[in-house]
């Protein structure tokens, strides 16, 4: 405690200035580099775009996550536009100054990768899970092949392939945005895991439910949408959130391919000769950020489970 707060220095221009002030932790390294930790290398003049995206994110997430939000129905429709608007805001073009994606970094990068991965892996995962149970062999083989291949390869390998090998296969001069490659790989990776989690949920649905849907005259998609999936998803919530949290934490692996997430920024900061040796402070700070996000997700999943609790407790 003494080291953390009482004996700590919160301001200063370098580690020497810190240790001259107090004998404990040197939080000045975080304070001085907060912008770097938050925005990465995003140009200072354009950072309002990142801030605006965050505000939009909050406005989009609230109606999706909570029921008692006013005008929720309209908000949900508008939410569909969110990925496009944010992508435009962050990358630029069409009136905004373009910002290259390798300038992304820090918490912003974690959120971009995490939210894209989470947002897209759920629908793709559902499709794959349904595909794996499909009676059409082409779809079934594709789903099984995809899921087993992705699950059989570590994420780090996929990222490595995305960052370097792809360039060997692509003709010279043709480049493919690095962040886009990462987003695709992370999403595909998470989808495969998501598919298996949801398949678990699907298999827990009694056969009678499928038959009931059939006897109502519902065709496949309606039956799935109205009867099977709502139940299956409810069962799968803990597994789904588990995958989300895992994916979110896996975003730190992007350091391998030279994108600097908060952990990467932290390491790079420690290499600044002004701040060398402050590893405890930096790593603690990054850990707190990840803990808050992941714990938040875990709590929300519990809230959701309680809300949807309809069976009798066993």
């Amino acid at each position: 405690m003494d080291w953390l707060f009482l004996d700590a220095a919160f301001t200063g221009g370098s580690r020497d200035e810190c240790s001259a002030k107090a004998g404990g932790a040197c939080w000045a390294v975080i304070g001085e580099r907060l912008n770097l930790f938050t925005y990465g290398f995003y140009p200072a003049a354009e950072r309002w775009r990142v801030n605006l995206s965050l505000v939009l994110l909050i406005f989009t997430l609230f109606p999706i996550l909570f029921e008692k939000v006013p005008y929720r129905k309209y908000a949900l429709h508008i939410a569909v536009a969110f990925p496009f608007v944010t992508a435009w805001l962050l990358v630029g073009g069409l009136g905004l100054t373009p910002v290259e994606t390798d300038q992304f970094g820090g918490f912003m990068l974690t959120l971009v990768i995490g939210i894209t991965g989470i947002g897209f892996s759920l629908p793709i995962g559902i499709l794959l899970a349904l595909g794996r149970q499909s009676k059409l062999p082409a779809i079934q083989i594709f789903s099984i092949g995809f899921i087993e291949f992705i699950r059989g390869v570590p994420l780090i390998t996929l990222l490595f392939v995305a960052s370097t090998m792809l360039n060997y296969f692509l003709p010279p001069g043709v480049t493919f945005d690095l962040l886009l490659r990462v987003l695709i790989m992370v999403t595909l990776f998470a989808s495969a895991y998501m598919a298996e989690v949801i398949r678990g949920g699907l298999q827990a649905i009694p056969k009678g439910q499928f038959e009931a849907a059939d006897s109502m005259g519902l065709h496949y998609w309606s039956a799935m949408r109205l009867i099977v999936l709502p139940q299956a998803m409810k069962i799968s919530i803990p597994g789904i959130v588990n995958t989300f949290i895992g994916l979110y934490k896996d975003t730190t692996l992007v350091i391998i391919i030279g994108l600097l997430d908060p952990l990467g920024i932290g390491r790079a900061s420690l290499a600044d000769t002004k701040w060398t040796g402050l590893s405890t402070e930096v790593y603690l700070f990054v850990a707190i950020f990840f803990f808050i996000s992941c714990f938040g997700m875990a709590r929300y999943s519990q809230h959701l489970e309680n809300k949807l609790e309809t069976d009798h407790k066993r």
Binding site: E32, G105, S163, T164, M165, P171, G173, L260, A271, T273
Partner: protein
């Protein structure tokens, strides 16, 4: 589960199958048509892009790290800026590609970067097998020893019987064994996996001495709780020539990298600095060598395919070799490295660049 697959018998009609095959072939053809487009050469690519993609470390004290504002700083970084200034006229026209030890060469060979300045030792296998072309050495490193002052050791020859922290599986491990055997001394190795692990072991006094590359020792020393209580011994027991590198097969581009590094070294020999270069470059002086350097005489820049002010631009952007060294590694920085071998040949070091003529 696979039963249903096996039972399934409905074949695709021939037309559908044919169409799919055709589509597939078209896609392949499109992909190949791209490959036919000739690669114009790195210099042309860089000029067309208006930015130099430079591979650096994702964080190495003194060599490459981002500052508070996200601007990259460091010894290697300044070499990138010098090349960018020589080619494009401004030291800010660089995109830094941060890489780890593992990815640096693949990134270079995959074309993610045009040039690499990443604290990289030149070796035969990297040159021949990894297909790199090395630029002139910009930092002569070597393996050294870090030890507590309180032990009173002033030379590595007094290390008989010491316990030594060493990273396993490295060339430093082999160098250490060679050195102690050659000096007929015994030592007790304390094996670690990474640099961080070694530091912890050293700080908790599990070993008396820590050995690795001298520049890394300097940054390690700066990161210790009380750096002034530790000292780096004067002996350097191995050769680690660090230099930039480019891909095999583009000699013109390799020449540019080579001569930019040479120009920075020569500028120091001639006493050309970031401060006085504007004054010097205004009009031709009496020294023909300096005139050639400054582009006021001859056509050195044109021969390289660059502007005749190429060297002036490079020096204006980052200063000469000595200035870069002082700024990032020298005695006034926390790393506090001496010039040593990296002094100009005129000042007792081995930096000796081929002449610009």
């Amino acid at each position: 589960m696979f039963d249903s697959v096996l039972k399934f018998k409905r074949p695709y009609s021939k037309e559908v199958l044919g169409m799919r095959v055709t589509n597939f072939l078209v896609i392949i053809a499109v992909l190949f048509s791209f490959t036919v487009m000739a690669d114009a050469g790195t210099l042309e690519n860089v000029k067309a892009r208006g930015k130099l993609n430079c591979i650096v470390s994702s964080g190495l004290a003194g060599f490459a790290s981002p500052d508070e504002k996200g601007n990259w700083q460091g010894f290697d970084v300044d070499f990138c800026r010098a090349v960018a200034a020589a080619v494009l006229g401004s030291g800010d026209k660089v995109k830094f590609v941060p890489t780890t030890n593992k990815t640096r060469f693949t990134q270079l060979n995959a074309g993610e970067g045009d040039i690499l300045f990443r604290n990289t030792t030149e070796t035969l296998s990297r040159d021949a097998d990894l297909k790199l072309t090395f630029l002139p050495v910009n930092y002569y490193d070597g393996q050294g020893f870090l030890i507590r002052k309180s032990l009173g050791v002033t030379s590595a020859t007094q290390l008989a019987g010491a316990s030594v922290c060493i990273q396993t599986g490295t060339t430093t491990e082999l160098n250490l064994a060679d050195y102690f055997r050659a000096n007929k001394m015994k030592y007790e190795p304390v094996n670690t996996e990474t640099n961080e692990e070694s530091i912890v072991a050293y700080e908790s006094k599990r070993c008396d001495v820590y050995t690795t590359d001298a520049s890394a020792l300097a940054s390690t020393r700066a990161a210790l709780k009380k750096p002034s209580e530790h000292v780096i011994l004067p002996e350097i027991i191995s050769k680690e020539p660090l230099g930039g590198a480019v891909r095999h097969g583009d000699d013109r581009w390799a020449d540019i990298g080579k001569w930019v590094v040479n120009a920075l070294i020569i500028a120091e020999e001639m006493g050309i600095t970031q401060k006085n270069i504007k004054e010097l470059a205004k009009k031709p002086g009496n020294n023909p060598g300096m005139n050639r350097f400054l582009g006021t005489e001859g056509s050195m820049g044109e021969m390289l395919g660059l502007d005749k002010k190429w060297a002036v631009n490079a020096i204006s952007a980052v200063g000469n070799y000595g200035e870069i060294f002082e700024r990032h590694l020298g005695p006034k920085t926390p790393l506090a490295l001496e010039r040593g071998l990296n002094a100009s040949w005129k000042a007792g070091g081995i930096l000796y660049a081929a002449p610009i003529r």
